[in-house]
Each structure stands twice: as C-alpha cells, then as structure tokens.
Symmetry: C2
Subunit: 256 residues, 2 copies
C-alpha cells in the first residue's frame, strides 16, 4: 500500500515544485515506484520533467472533471520508476466547475484510491493557494510535507497553513498527518536564514526534517533541461540533499 | 488624478510584495502621495510595513464585501506620504462570497474610484493566482507591473499572464496597459540569471524597465522589522534599486 504525500504551502516560491520533482526522482533512484500528481495550473512539475503540456491530452483536469480512468493519464518520465499525471492550464477553471459537485472536497481522493495500490509513493505538487484543488490534495493525502523558505514572509504563513490542516483533519481527512517541515534554499552565510532555521527548530522540534535543502543554482538550472537535478548534475549539493531527504523519508516510514 | 498600478504574476515568490512595499516607499520619498492596497490574503505587504493584521478592524475585505467607505480603512505607515489599506486572512473567503455578486469583476474598481483623486499612485499587491481578487485588481488598474524572477519557472508563466491581461483588457478594462516587466532577484554571477535577462529583453524590448532589482539580503531582512528597505538600510543596493525604479516610473509617466 503506497503513501500519498502532498507538498503544500500557500506562500509562493518556497520550493514546493523543486522538492516534488527532486524528492520523487531520488525515491525512484532508491528503487521506489513513484507517481507525481501535478495539481498546479502552472504545470511547473510537468514541464520541469520535460512534459510538453500543450501536447498532452489527458491530465489531472480530465481525471477530476471527466472522470476518466487515472491510469490512462499517467505519463513516463526520463527517470526509471518515476511517473506523472501532468497538469494543464485548464485546471484554473476546474475550481469553479467543481464548486457545485457533490463531495467536491473528496474528488481527488477517489481518483487516487486505485493508484495507491500501484505506487510506493504518490507526491502531489500544490499551487500557492488554499483553494479547492489544494483542499482536495490535503483530503487525498496521508501526510503533508511543508517546504519553508528560510525567509521572514515564509514564517508568517505557517500558522494559517496549520490551521487549514487542522480543519481538514477534523472535517474531511482524520488520517492527515504532518510528514515534516522541510527547510529550503538555505544559505548558511546569511544571518536571516540561520535565524529562521533556529525559530523553526525551536517551534516544531522533531517535526522538522534533519535534511536541509541548501541554495544551489543547479536546482534552478535543471528544470530548463526538463530533468531532475539527479540526472542534470548528480554530484551537486542539490542532488545530494534530495537523496538524503529520500533516505530519511523511507527510513521514517519503514519504522511504522 | 492618480495612477492605479497592479503588481501581478501568478508565479509565486517572484517579488510582487517586495516591489510593492519598496517602490511605494521610494515614490513617497520622492514626494509622491502613495497608497498600497494589499489584495493578498497572506497580508505580507501589511505586515512588511509593521501593521498587525490581527488587530486591524477595517481592511480590504470590508471595502469589498461590507461596502464601507474605503477612506476609513486607510492606515498610516512609518513613511511620510505612504498609506495602506491592509489585508486580512478573511480575504481567502471573499472570492467565494463575491462569486454571485453583480459586476463581481468590478467591485474593487468602484472601491478605488474616490481614492484616485487623493493619491498620486495606488499600488495593488496581488496574490500568486489569477482568481477573482486578482481579476478585480487588473480591472481596477490603469496598468500592471509584472515582476519576473530571473529563473526558468518564472519565464514559463508569462504567456499565461499576458493572455489573462488581454482578456481583461478586451472584456472588462480597455484602459489596462503593461507598465513594464521588472527583473527581480538578479544575480549577475549566475549564467541562468543572465540568460533569462537576455530572453526577456529580446522578447519584450522597450517594455522592460531599465532598472533591475538585484538580489540583496537587506530586502529580505527589512520586512522582519516592519520597514521598507529605505528605512532599514538606505545605503543598500536594494534601496538604491527601488529609488531608481521610482524615478524611472515618475519620468515615464510625466512624459505622457
Ligand atoms: N534550493 C534551491 N536553490 C536554488 N534555487 C532554488 C532552490 N529551490 C527552488 N529554487 C528555485 O526557486 C524558484 C522557486 O521554487 P519553486 O518553483 O520550486 O517553488 P514553488 O513553491 O513550487 O513555487 P509556486 O508557489 O509558484 O508553486 C524556482 O525558480 C526554483 O528553481
Ligand atoms: N531582490 C531580492 N533580494 C533578496 N531577496 C528578495 C528579493 N526580492 C524578494 N526577496 C525575498 O524573496 C521572497 C519572495 O519575495 P516576495 O514575497 O516579495 O514575492 P511575492 O511574489 O510577493 O510572493 P507571493 O507569490 O507569495 O506573493 C521574500 O522572502 C523576499 O523577502
Ligand atoms: Mg510550484
Ligand atoms: Mg506577495
């Protein structure tokens, strides 16, 4: 039985997509079978893995609204063991269309139910919002990874996100847990980054991943080649950090 | 008659709020009377100027939904000549509440109409989405500044944003112009940053501001003190860049 993990934070640009792509690729490298679900209309996870979203006919939009078999929307990637259900710009309209559906919060959960049997990990990349698609993602997920950029504005949004998670856990998805807080774009030379790191560790202690993702330009270059950093530059710090994260995640979940 | 300018880009973390706060403060420093409208439920522009959003009773939410006189929601800031209508977490719910309103796209335009007479510039900080509040902001605006982070994913979203602007211009706001593309977090040492810079200049030529905002840690430290960078560290590169931007904007608009 696979585990469904949402990558969520309504603060923009904190590393949700970068973590989704590179954690998924690292898990596949460690012989896990992994599916990415791109639940962001920007479709960055799809294009960051070389999928041309203008050419894909079936994606998450069709799974949510046309009720197609989700297995028909799964695409291969350049990484063995890593698959993706791509996004599409149309997804912007999906939220309005889903508003009047019955059980509108649980649509994605039903879509992913048959896929849980097939994959070890399903990672859902969320958009920078707490709208209906993100609520669907948190309702479908077993747990959530919260990427936190080591900056002031990123700290501010955490309490709002935790509030939303608490509401979803009480009303829609009692199983929802926090997989962990992940510090991203960390630059040890900056006082602010160290301050944010200390703050998060103090507040959330064991809920913070030991692995910290450091700022590394290879992580921002890789998507322009349609590759995870593991393929683009396996020796880079960015690559090592994400493999460490994958090992930490597997170890944490084996224990249970 | 003042000018209303929206800061918009659905890509997260590209510098919308940082530009709003520091461009507004720089315009005020150059003797302009400026109002910020915080149209993002994250309320980063409000907290970045020292406003405690948990304590403010009146803000943009009340202007849009309770139809209060917007002048009663205007707060002073630490900068002479700079005022703000703060945001509030409740704004997340506003989009759903506005869906069934008549002229739901033009609500903010009506709210801001009396304020145009009072201020030289009104800057609207948008959230990382193309939802109803951002549509309201683009419908109320005379022009839009598009902050573009010098990264690959930031390039990808531009065509979608330009599409949305075109639709709004044809259906809701024929006056809407692009004030300019603003390159943010530029680090001249990075090949990727220079590549994105060349791409944008090639595609959009004169529509790109001459001023480029460089990556500068003072810009990300300042909001934790509730100050624009002009007050926090006036000698910093971040401060100089935003004053240059303000001068360029004033010059461009004087000519007309
Ligand atoms: N550790 C890192 N080092 C350097 N650059 C990074 C790192 N992590 C992410 N980036 C870059 O920072 C930008 C923001 O990251 P990303 O797009 O993954 O964030 P996001 O949270 O998914 O954004 P959005 O809120 O728009 O969905 C991207 O251009 C990405 O390439
Ligand atoms: N030129 C810069 N140099 C260094 N840091 C910067 C710069 N511009 C912005 N930042 C920092 O980068 C982060 C993202 O910027 P900001 O929050 O302004 O973007 P945004 O587009 O408003 O994000 P959102 O999409 O969440 O609204 C912030 O933590 C900010 O302090
Ligand atoms: Mg993303
Ligand atoms: Mg912002």
């Amino acid at each position: 039985m696979g585990k469904i993990i949402a990558l969520a934070n309504q603060k923009g640009g904190v590393g949700k997509t970068t973590t989704t792509i590179n954690l998924a690729a690292s898990l596949a490298f460690l012989k896990q079978k992994v599916l990415i679900v791109d639940a962001d209309p920007q479709a960055n996870a799809s294009s960051g893995l070389g999928i041309d979203v203008r050419k894909t006919e079936l994606g998450i939009y069709q799974c949510l609204l046309d009720k197609i078999d989700p297995k028909t929307a799964v695409c291969k990637t350049q990484v063995d063991g890593l698959y993706i259900i791509p996004s599409h710009i149309d997804l912007v309209g999906a939220e309005l269309e889903m508003i009047n559906m019955e059980n509108r919060d649980k649509v994605l959960r039903e879509v992913l139910r048959p896929l849980k049997e097939v994959y070890d990990y399903v990672l859902i990349d969320c958009s920078p919002s707490l709208g209906l698609i993100t609520v669907n993602s948190l309702t479908a997920a077993d747990s959530v990874i919260i990427p936190v950029q080591c900056e002031y504005f990123a700290l501010e949004g955490i309490s709002k996100l935790l509030n939303t998670i608490k509401i979803i856990k009480s009303k829609l998805n009692p199983e929802l847990e926090i997989e962990g807080f992940l510090l991203t774009m960390f630059d040890a030379r900056l006082r602010l980054a160290n301050q944010v790191y200390q703050d998060i560790k103090k507040h959330f202690e064991t809920m913070v991943f030991n692995t910290v993702i450091q700022r590394n330009v290879k992580l921002s270059e890789a998507p322009s080649y349609g590759q995870p950093v593991l393929l683009y530059d396996p020796e880079s710090k960015g690559s090592q950090n994400h493999v460490d994260l994958a090992r930490e995640l597997i170890k944490k979940n084996k224990v249970k």
